[in-house]
C-alpha cells in the first residue's frame, strides 16, 4: 500500500511545498489555473510589453491542459494534462514571479528545473488518459482571459482532491529519472 495522499490547498506558500518529495502522491484542493501553449505565448508578450498578466503567478499553480467541450451539467469537459516541455521556454518567466506549481506530463528542461529550485516551485505529474476522472475533480471553471483561443483560453478552476504526483521537487528529485533507473533491466 502506498502512503496516504498529502492534501494541499492552493494557492500555496513556499513553506507548504518544502516538505514535498519526488513520488509523493498529492491531492490538490482550491484554485488552480489552466493555461497552455498559446496562452503562455501571450503571457510572455504581456510581460515584455509591461502589461498585466491574466493571472497572478504568486503562490499559484498552472495546469497545462486544453479541455474538451463540457456536456451540459459538467463544470468542465474532459481535461487531462498536455506535454509540459512545450511550455519550457515560458515557464521561468512565471516561476520568477512566484509560480508555486505546474501540472503536466513529460520531461522538463534543465533551465526550468533550475528555476524551480531557485525560486521555489514544484512540478506535478497527472495522467493524460484519465481526463474524464480529472474533470470530475473540477467543481467550478471559468474562462478568465484569452477567450478567443477556445480550448487554449486561460481558465480559473476550483478543484477538490485533484490527484497528482510530485515529479520534480525542490531538491533535485526527478520521478521520471528515478523510476526509469529503478525498473530498467
Amino acid at each position: 500500500m502506498s502512503p496516504a495522499p498529502i492534501r494541499l490547498e492552493a494557492p500555496l506558500s513556499k513553506e507548504e511545498i518544502e516538505p514535498l518529495r519526488t513520488s509523493d502522491v498529492v491531492r490538490l484542493n482550491g484554485v488552480i489555473y489552466i493555461a497552455r501553449d498559446a496562452a503562455h505565448a501571450r503571457m510572455k508578450r504581456a510581460i515584455e510589453a509591461g502589461e498585466p498578466l491574466p493571472l497572478d503567478p504568486e503562490g499559484n499553480i498552472v495546469y497545462y491542459s486544453g479541455p474538451a467541450p463540457a456536456r451540459p451539467g459538467y463544470a468542465l469537459g474532459p481535461a487531462g494534462p498536455t506535454t509540459a516541455s512545450r511550455m519550457d521556454p515560458y515557464s521561468p518567466l512565471l516561476i520568477e514571479r512566484g509560480l508555486r506549481g505546474m501540472i503536466g506530463k513529460g520531461l522538463r528542461s534543465e533551465a526550468v528545473i533550475e528555476s524551480m529550485r531557485e525560486h521555489g516551485c514544484v512540478y506535478f505529474g497527472a495522467v493524460e488518459g484519465t481526463a474524464a476522472l480529472l474533470a470530475d475533480c473540477v467543481k467550478e471553471a471559468e474562462v478568465i482571459a484569452y477567450e478567443d483561443l477556445g480550448a487554449e483560453g486561460v481558465r480559473r478552476l476550483f478543484v477538490e482532491e485533484f490527484p497528482v504526483v510530485v515529479v520534480n521537487d525542490l531538491y533535485g528529485g526527478d520521478l521520471y529519472r528515478e523510476g526509469r533507473g529503478r525498473w530498467r533491466r
Binding site: 502506498s2 506530463k105 493524460e128 476522472l133 477556445g150 523510476g179 533491466r185
Partner: protein
C-alpha cells in the same frame, strides 16, 4: 462517420482494454499499477457517459479500403468524411484541435480536415478505419533512413531509442507502430497504419511477428513504465508493417500511440 468519430473517442477497443488489463497483472511497480487502474476506471466512466476519455481528441485519421466495384454518387467521399468529422466532433463534445497551417495557427473550428489514406481493394465493399491520433505521442515519433549495411540491428536500436527519447512524453503504456521499407513517406504511412491493427494481433509473417515480440521485450526493459513513473509495462504492443524497398535503402518509421489508443472501424 459522425458515429464513428464519437465511438472512437468514447469507447476504447476491447483488444486495447484487454491489453491494459494484462499490463495491470504484469506490472511490478506499485505506482505503475495505480496508473493503469486509473486508466481502466477512466475508460469505464467515459463509456458510460459518452464523453471523451482524453481531452486531445486528435487528428481524425482514416484508412479507406475502397472496393473497385463501388461507385460513389451524390458527392465526393473526402467531403463526406469531413462532414462526418464536423458533425461528430461538434455533437460528441469533442475538442477541435486542427489549426489552418503550422504558421497561421488559427483553429479551423471543426477539427477538419480529416487525414485520409485511400487503398484500392477488390469487390464491392467500403471499409473505413478511424484512428484518433493525439499529438503528444505523435510529436515523439521519428523516421530514419538507415543504410542496408546498418540493417536489422540498427533498426531495432532506432525503435528502442525513439521510445527512450520519448520517455514519459508519449503517455505510456504505448502502442508502437513501426513501418519499414518503401521510400521515405511510405515508411511513415505504414507506421501509422500499423497502429490500426487490433492491439497485440501479431503480423501474419512469422519473422516479423518474432521481431514484434523481441522489440516489445526490449521496450519493456527500459523501465519507463506507465505514465513514465517507472515500471515494467512501457508498451502494450509493437505492430510492424513492411514494404519492399530500394537496393540502397532501409527506411524505418516509428509512430507512437499513447495509452488512450483509439481506433474504430465500419464497413458499408
Amino acid at each position: 462517420m459522425r458515429d464513428l468519430c464519437i465511438e472512437a473517442n468514447t469507447r476504447l477497443p476491447q483488444e486495447h482494454l484487454a491489453a491494459l488489463r494484462r499490463a495491470l497483472e504484469a506490472e511490478e511497480a506499485e505506482l505503475g499499477r495505480e496508473v493503469i487502474e486509473r486508466l481502466l476506471e477512466n475508460a469505464e466512466v467515459a463509456r458510460e457517459r459518452c464523453i471523451a476519455f482524453c481531452q486531445d481528441t486528435g487528428y481524425a485519421v482514416f484508412f479507406v479500403e475502397l472496393g473497385s466495384d463501388v461507385r460513389i454518387s451524390g458527392g465526393e467521399i473526402g467531403s463526406a468524411i469531413d462532414e462526418g468529422v464536423r458533425r461528430g466532433y461538434e455533437e460528441g463534445y469533442l475538442r477541435k484541435s486542427m489549426v489552418r497551417s503550422p504558421i497561421d495557427r488559427t483553429n479551423t473550428g471543426d477539427n477538419t480536415p480529416a487525414v485520409v489514406y485511400y487503398e484500392p481493394a477488390p469487390g464491392d465493399g467500403l471499409k473505413l478505419t478511424m484512428l484518433v491520433k493525439g499529438a503528444g505521442c505523435d510529436n515523439m515519433s521519428a523516421l530514419k533512413m538507415l543504410t542496408p549495411a546498418e540493417g536489422l540491428q540498427a533498426m531495432k536500436r532506432f525503435v528502442v531509442q525513439t521510445i527512450e527519447r520519448a520517455g514519459p512524453n508519449a503517455s505510456p503504456p504505448l502502442t508502437v507502430g513501426v513501418g519499414m521499407g518503401g521510400p521515405f513517406e511510405k515508411a511513415a504511412v505504414l507506421a501509422k497504419k500499423a497502429l490500426t491493427r487490433p492491439s497485440g494481433e501479431p503480423n501474419s509473417d512469422p519473422e516479423l511477428a518474432f521481431l514484434e515480440r523481441e522489440l516489445l521485450d526490449e521496450i519493456n526493459a527500459t523501465g519507463i513504465g506507465p505514465a513514465g513513473y517507472g515500471g515494467t509495462q512501457t508498451a502494450l504492443a509493437v505492430h510492424i508493417e513492411s514494404f519492399p524497398t530500394h537496393i540502397a535503402a532501409f527506411p524505418v518509421a516509428v509512430n507512437l500511440d499513447c495509452h488512450s489508443h483509439r481506433t474504430a472501424s465500419a464497413e458499408l
